[in-house]
Amino acid sequence: MTEQVRARQLREAQQAELQRLFAQAPMAIVVLRGPTFIIEQANENAEVIWGRTAAQVMGRPHFEAIPDSAGQGFEKLLTGVLESGEPVVLHEVPIVLNRAHTGRPDTGYYTIIFKPLRDEHQRVSRIAVMWTESTDQVLARQQVQDLNQELAAINEELTATNEELNESNAQLTRTNVDLDTFVYTASHDLKAPITNIESIVLALRDTLPAAVQQDELVAHLLDLLNQTVARFQITINQLTDVSRLQLAHTGPTEPVVLAPVVQDVRLDLLPAITAAGAQLTVEVPAGLVVSFSPANLRSIVYNLLSNALKYRAPDRPALMHVRAAPTEAGVVLTVQDNGLGMSEVQQRQLFGLFQRLHTHVEGTGVGLYISKRLIENAGGTIAVQSQPNAGTTFTVTFPL
């Protein structure tokens, strides 16, 4: 083998290597010649992007071989590059190509470099076009942007809704204050006449001759009048209590040892408990402390225990169970009974003002309402679990 042959073989090998590099370059590369932009070279990536084989396009003017690429401004751009000899770079420009058969979207996004190529006479007669497709990234980014806009819109909506809620809340608070003021004023204004009626009854008793007062009907009517006045006054006093909840704060909180409070209430209720033949079990750890207004705490425990006693089932011995334990959420106090119990509908009404679920016992329906307000004003919660004719459990959580 001569030197010449070996040199030729080497040249051919290098040529082939370059050709392979060109063909398999990770970007699309084409070379366009002359004013009609004849496709002189096109590598594999270009074939993929165009959706056409090299054989289909090679040697033909670009906009004739790939007519769908025409009319998108590239004719003018390429002419400009040829004339000026200046390279042009485009970032992520959209180009529409008919390539549905490739499974790619017709509109693709491309970053393209148009590089003028000079011949041995330094004349620009050809253009190398190199480009990469970033359709997937652009579409993904657009999707993110769309989502972002959607989120911003939702956010705006939420803010608006929030403002509306705040306004409704403020309105409700005002209404509540108005209502409390009304209740206070009403109870106060009702007190004056009922007090007078009470005095009138007393004056009548002093005025009416004894013989008249001893008449059976008169005596009964006077008794009824007394009872009615007493009943009226209880209601008014309780109305006043309700209004004082709001007007006169809930009392300062302080650490209160729970066990003595329960014991105190138990002693108060002992005559009633004994009379009812009820059994009260207390399981409150000594030294367990809750942070609450002492007077309010006592009235809550009293209310729950006296309710448990009041609403006992007539056909079985009443069992009442008071437990308390510290938890992560605060001190939890439960008052459980085996009494009349309540349906779900009744449980929903339970904490309302003037709700009386039973008529066989005395009550005005403000006790639980007041207890709930006291507990919630102090940041605690009260919940009820009940089964008709099986029993009721109240669970109070005192805040830490």
Binding site: H188, K191, A192, T195, S199, L202, T240, A248
Partner: protein, 139 residues
């Protein structure tokens, strides 16, 4: 128990005044019952009957309501504290009210009053009041 020479009732409710006057008269605990329908009327009455040379009708006791038009109970007490006659002739003032707002209560504690009574006025309350304040003067 000797009757007081005079008692002043201050209340804007005519029915209350009528009933209280009836009660005090019937019990015979006072010779005279004066009535004023608000604090300002009460001040005028006091100025008239207590400045006169003859002091027999000047009340020894005032039963004072809290809520009244023109001048309420607290306003009356403040004005009364400024009156010169307060120093010359001590008058027992008892607030007779339906309900006591804690704020009012706190304010009234600063004022020259002998005590509080809840309405309605009854024989028992009157008897206790007389025993507490007038047992020595009018035994």
């Amino acid at each position: 128990m000797l009757p007081l020479p005079s008692v002043l009732l201050v209340d804007d409710d005519p029915t209350t005044n009528f009933l209280n006057k009836l009660l005090l008269t019937r019990m015979g605990v006072t010779q005279q019952v004066l009535v004023a329908e608000n604090g300002e009327q009460a001040l005028r009455t006091l100025t008239q009957v207590c400045q006169a040379s003859e002091h027999s009708t000047c009340p020894r006791l005032i039963l004072l309501d809290m809520n009244m038009p023109v001048l309420n109970g607290l306003g009356f007490l403040e004005a009364y504290a400024q009156l010169l006659l307060a120093h010359q002739q001590p008058i027992v003032i008892v607030m007779l009210t339906t309900s006591l707002h804690p704020a009012d209560l706190a304010r009234a504690e600063q004022l020259p009053i002998a005590g509080f009574l809840n309405k309605p006025l009854t024989q028992e309350k009157v008897t206790a009041l007389w025993q507490q304040h007038f047992a020595q003067q009018y035994p």
